[in-house]
Symmetry: D2
Subunit: 459 residues, 4 copies
């Protein structure tokens, strides 16, 4: 690492983001190797303007090690021109559509813990997102063809897949912090079972395989020590897998929507010998085993995030009152995101090996080439290359492959506006275990609820 500052230009699509954008500003502020400008584009321009103010506070913080010029722009093109990096974190559609993604299936007895990735809700969200991302892809290639594109939006796999489907030469990858949570969890086990101070989560080496939110650690090591025997020891504690309904009810009562005990991740370990490497709320949605009813999912300590919460928190973030509130930061701290580290690696400042979502070039040779997978990869100077993963256990691989096929058909249906194909994908989602006639009715209700975001469809 040399200490001259690299000058870069970042275009941020969804620049009004309350979470990802702020995190990026903080991590950039703490990075002494970078400087430059950030252009925020958002369909909600005032929200982007508000983030310009927040960025100002962050980059002027006493602990900030660099300065970035941050501006809001009204046209996507203006953000993209000559950008070196494009960051995307958007919300595809009005929040009411996310509510219908959750509430309509519920009427039909289909429960979703998140509803933004897979399941009926995830598929609808994908149908809305694909045309938006097709547009992004074309504009990125037109205005900043050499840029690297970092996607944070869900459904991660389908958003990233769309970029490649629309522009095969794009240099895009999807980032998700779920795996970091697994590393953190294992770092605690290292402390507990190996009698050493808890290591940094980055010291936990995982071999990652799967699709985003349905990822697995096929290998876990710390300092060369195999952690699988420790996991076995951990989960063989008496009552480890006991019924967590009362904990779940408490969480529900307290509105702790994102808390769980990681029981499902460990259940995968018990059943398949590899550790679930995403939160239980995500893992549960990819198989027909855990979400049969609200009661059933409570048994695993997981609660269903209600649509009412989603709506409330959405509007709260955008309320005049909150927008006017002073944004304050006492201590400037690194977030748990990796975007800035990735940018540094792509600039050649410091190599990075981490997990990422990119098209399959062989990293999992038993899965279709071209499908966007989450595995380990090497970030090097202007280079991102996947590392070959240990294959998943056969039966889990078959589940992942089926998910991939559902995603491929969803993407194709979204691009060609093919309602029949979209329904075939929908019907094949692992959560859709109802009669085909009921599924068809539900599908049509959902399409109806989301139709304003489906231009060109015959619904």
């Amino acid at each position: 690492m040399n200490n001259k500052k690299h000058k870069i230009k970042i275009a941020y699509i969804g620049g009004g983001s309350q979470n990802w954008a702020i995190n990026l500003f903080k991590d950039l502020a703490l990075c002494p190797y970078l400087k430059g400008e950030i252009l925020l584009y958002d369909i909600d321009y005032p929200l982007a303007q508000r983030n310009v103010e927040k960025a100002g506070i962050i980059f002027h913080h006493s602990q900030s090690k660099t300065k970035f010029q941050v501006r809001a722009v009204k046209k996507l093109e203006d953000a993209l021109k000559n950008a070196n990096y494009v960051v995307i974190s958007i919300f595809p559609g009005p929040i009411e559509m996310m509510a219908s993604d959750l509430d309509i299936p519920k009427k039909y007895g289909i429960f979703q813990s998140v509803g933004d990735t897979t399941g009926p809700g995830g598929i609808m969200r994908a149908l809305r997102s694909v045309p938006i991302y097709v547009d992004f892809a074309h504009k990125i290639v037109k205005y900043c063809p050499d840029s690297w594109v970092i996607n944070y939006t869900n459904p991660m796999t389908l958003c990233t897949s769309t970029l490649y489907a629309a522009e095969p030469d794009i240099k895009a990858f999807g980032c998700c912090h779920e795996v970091f949570g697994t590393q953190y969890k294992l770092a605690k086990l290292v402390n507990k079972y190996l009698n050493v101070p808890q290591p940094d989560r980055k010291e936990i080496h995982l071999d990652i395989a799967g699709v985003n939110h349905f990822t697995f650690a096929t290998e876990a090591k710390w300092n060369g020590i195999d952690l699988f025997p420790i996991i076995k020891q951990h989960i063989s504690q008496k009552k480890f897998f006991s019924n967590r309904t009362s904990a779940a009810l408490k969480r529900k009562k307290n509105g702790e929507w994102f808390t769980s005990d990681g029981l499902i991740a460990y259940d995968f370990f018990t059943r398949f010998g590899v550790l679930g490497a995403a939160g239980d709320r995500h893992l549960a949605e990819f198989v027909p085993w855990y979400l049969k009813s609200e009661k059933e999912i409570h048994r695993w300590g997981v609660v269903l995030t209600p649509s009412s919460y989603r709506i409330k928190s959405y509007y709260s973030a955008r309320s005049k009152k909150n927008l006017l509130k002073t944004f304050k930061i006492n201590e400037l701290k690194h977030t748990s995101e990796e975007g800035v580290n990735q940018i540094m690696a792509l600039l050649g400042i410091k190599n990075l090996d981490t997990n990422v979502n990119i098209p399959n070039k062989g990293q999992l040779a038993d899965l279709p080439l071209g499908a966007v997978l989450e595995t380990n990869a090497q970030f090097r100077k202007d280079s991102l290359k996947p590392v070959a993963s240990k294959p998943l256990p056969t039966m889990l691989n078959s589940l992942v492959r089926h998910i991939i096929e559902v995603q491929k058909s969803t993407l194709k249906a979204a691009i060609t506006r093919d309602k029949n194909l979209a329904f075939q994908a929908f019907l094949n989602d692992p959560l859709v275990n109802i009669s085909t006639d009921k599924a068809w009715k539900m599908f049509n209700e959902m399409l109806e609820a989301t139709k304003d975001m489906l231009p060109g469809w015959k619904i």
Copy 2:
């Protein structure tokens, strides 16, 4: 065709069969091109002896065009030595095990319309059958290595797969008449919609793709006329897909366990554009959509064959009274089976193009090579070659592929007696939509019930 009689030797494993064996005798009796001997082997020797008597009646019938010497033998080896054809139709395990295959899952809310092919019951039946078939394969290759092996036993795919897994050079194929039913159904539509006399079912050309009992006609023609538009017309009748609960309840009351309206086969046509080419009772078991409850399956006009019926009919066929009853045949008629036509084609007497279950050599290039598939094939003189099929629609193909993977893992688990792998396959069966802990409990109960047929397993 020349009219000299070919002399052949047939070994019949499961020679006490009340159905398949008798049908074979009848079709042989009506075939003027063949003569020779049939050796019946059965673990229930008296049952085989009884069939010797019945064969005598058939081959001495005034309409019989040939004679076969039929004998019962006590050792499999004695049947196999120098056989040209080996026919297998056995019942894997005591009938009480089939009862537990159905009744234990029912307790857990899993309903099966047949339970001999797929689903928890089909998997258990496979675990019992595989070691038996491994033994058959080795003995066949030892005692009659050049013979052709015709398998009628369910689970068809796994029994046939086992023969190839144990002896890759075996010349075996699985036969099933479900597709004939589809041809017959379409022959009736030809009559109805084209105003011509109902053609023979063999005149209906189907392009078949799938695995046994989960097969589809991707193309249907009569006399070069595409029948898909006719099917569309047929099912677009008002109320065609209406609720059939009352019909189902009637069937249940009357014990008409095998009757249905073919609604599910047509539902596949509606959803995926290809026609289900097996009975609804079978098709329903391969997807999670129709068998959610007894009520749900009744909606489609299908009834669940109860275990009590299975037990009763099993013992009835073997009751002293029935065994002593005189077996009478008024008119000797061709059955709907194709075994004799296949033998004739393999002898070079008359070419036959039909559907059959054999390992994938490319007939469905999107599915794993080596997996036993049901597609069209050419029977020629000492030759059986698959014809390349039209591929299945993508989403259906993905379902079939997942089934194939479950079958492969089941086979591997059965051969290696690997309980964990067997459970992974079990959990991935499309009917197993319950919590993993409950599934594990159910799996263990089922293993316990069937353990006498699982030698060498640690249960």
Copy 3:
């Protein structure tokens, strides 16, 4: 077979053909099941007109069993409109280009026995043919989208591949009689070694695998009898593989350019265990072993067809004198071509199983899907489906795969007019065993000689 005549319309592209067109007329005249019209299109209109006259003589012959209206048209569109069958047999480029295809490589020490399929000459011929076939494909799909297209032109594989590359839904196949010659040769062995009258060549069942002119019989049977032991016996005769230089020199002297002893086809049998199923002149051009020098190829009894002969016979066929000569047919006899049988099978009159060139759907699962292969196939009513072939021996399969890759790159280069890619293909042709700098020089000379047929290329 019913005896009513089917009315069909045939478009003939290359309607001035002196060989294929006349053969088609004869076979049609002898077919009592067909009637209709044939429209001849040729860039040499007078030649097509001349064939109208010849057709008149044939269809008015006393032995003719039907009548076809035959007309020459000046525009391709006029031939294609509403055609049921399209037959293509053209000559791609002036005959002088075929001369340069042979003579330029010769200067560089590269000898070709035919030069129309593979080798430097075959590649140049392909570069000329591809744009012509792209045009054919588009027009066929525009004017007669439901027609079946029969291609006779070489390079067979690349012409047929081009039709599918330009119009993936086209129903085209390539026909070649080389395999018939192998059947005929084996029929003679049957007579010689089995002491029976020589059977018709159609009674020889071959399992065919490869690409056109580099095809192999992986299985040969007559009446169920394996002919491979007979072939072994035949070629184990003393001096069977002895040096045939003197025979070759005699052939060269007498201008018997197409005669050989089939030694190379048998040499493949010796080396790889499968029988070459094309003429030695073709087989030799696909490997670097036989054509090192003229002397070397003479050792196998094969002579090089000289360019002078090609030019002479081309002009002779078109000479005024010959065109004015009266065309006479004493006895009307079936030719050895199969086009009419294929048409009858596609009409549903009589099923046909034969070898044909169509895209790989799995018929040879070890070779790339989509590549045009020569294997067995089923002609049925409006249906053509490949039969899965026995795989080629590994090392031969690898040779065929490499050829396929060369063909794919040639096709891509021809469509995109990519000189570098064309040269990479050229360099990888098995006959191009010279230094890359010399190969580049030769390649440029050949392009220069053929450039009038390469519109849009930068040469």
Copy 4:
């Protein structure tokens, strides 16, 4: 890196090695992080003893930073027991066999520049090596199943492949320094064209793809700068590719057998757009273009290493006089080998990304899974994982695939002692461009010459 010394045990097979073993001792001596013991096994025990002495001199050198106990053992088992690392560098067969590998083909007009990897000589050497390596594999897995195995012996691909064929769970990789030479060459270009001091060869990032000695850099970067434009500039110099015959003749005269101008590596760049990443002497042997005659290869500046030189240098190294000569080292310097860096990475001391030969898990998804390929890989603590490579240009990929198939057949033939299959592989080697009958004769002569090393073969 922590500074405590890791204690390891290394077993060295071929411990009498004059080159690889000494290099290893030197690099170990300069590594402050390791200590332990090295056990030398060699079929020539005195040679191993001699290396014990040399090791003593090295580890007692004033610049040595560590000590290793080095001993010679008489039984392979004694070396292997509890080894952590196994290094293999052997010479398969008496040197006279290498002479026949070169001289017999020469009689038939087949020229080889090295003859130890591919070509007729490489295949014979492989046939000799495979049984030896089968034995190594079994013993390694028996006596030190957790060890990492580093292979330096040629034919690299086939020796490494054999280890995996015999023991699929072995942890072996093949190392070759040819790519380092390419890095070094490019480092010089960086200096020349970018006006910066010549960087260390390790700073040149290459994306490597191919099989050992037929490897290509599909990407070359220094400090993020694409070096391909620089290569283009470099080779576009006037007369860059001019005839190098006079240089070659000089080299021949002076016995500079290993010198060349890298012209062939650049010629691949010109023809295929990727840079040959092995010496010209190796690259030339994988294609039929450069080695048509001695004159032809001289044109590229490459000389044929004569068998006489091989024999002389072999015996010279083993002469009593030389063995008695005092071994002296003035300055102890790092060699250009990477073995010690790999060991350090596998111990978790310092990560290493480099090129290596291991089975294909998807690193080149267009080539057969399982085939041993040379690509980049990550050495981490007890972990070696390939990085997905940029695919080779299509036509080059097809050449590599064919080589892989030849290697697979050679391996299979060597294990099953199948002479026919071995000949099929032999015939398909790109250098074997002679008549099949001559090739057969040559093959038999070569087998005869090497038969003492082919136990169990029927020759």
